[in-house]
Symmetry: C2
DNA sequence: CCTTTAGATTGATGGACGTCGATAAGTCTG
DNA sequence: CAGACTTATCGACGTCCATCAATCTAAAGG
């Protein structure tokens, strides 16, 4: 395993290494699309904190956001989850 | 997904969320057993740093160490890896 | 014993991270 | 346009983390 591979994969796992983001991803993956306003309640965090965590997940490639009107809609990226999953049992 | 589940899983992923620990786990999982002295070289880190990282991986349940004589032998815990893998695609 | 060796622990330090209030930027509605 | 609304960004603060030098513990060999 190369060092650059390790850096890329570590970014993904680091994004998953926070309980708030794990629950966030769990909520997003369960529905087809979720807007940020539907995360604030279940996660019991402030709006800037929610925005921070969605950003981290997005930068790790685990979710993608689409701005439609006032809302940003988030959905998970199954391929990225598969990649992380396959890394754990090759 | 409950908050306590999120906490437990997040600890596992946080342990994986460091490039040094990812390479470390990769090396350990590739062989049957690896002693700490065989990690220092490939990872290019000091001995205390290596010891710190093995401890984090062990506390997350991803590896177990057995002390035989002067050496500590580490091996991976496939069940724990499976658990994390299954979490990513249910 | 004494020395050497493997590994864990401690202490210190610089940097990264989670959190929130305040603010900015873009969007809908009246 | 004015005001309400959604999200992103900035600034600050406290905490956690990765790293290494120094030290300690335990075990093997002479």
């Amino acid at each position: 395993m190369s060092r650059s591979d390790a850096l890329d994969m570590a970014e993904v796992f680091a994004a998953l290494g926070d309980p708030v983001r794990l629950q966030m991803l769990s909520i997003i993956a369960a529905s087809h699309e979720v807007c940020s306003c539907n995360l604030e309640g279940p996660l019991a965090k402030s709006q800037p904190t929610i925005s921070h965590h969605t950003r981290v997940l997005a930068e790790a490639g685990l979710i993608v956001g689409e701005k439609r009107g006032r809302w940003t809609w988030w959905r998970s990226v199954p391929e990225r989850l598969d990649m992380a999953s396959r890394f754990l049992e090759p």
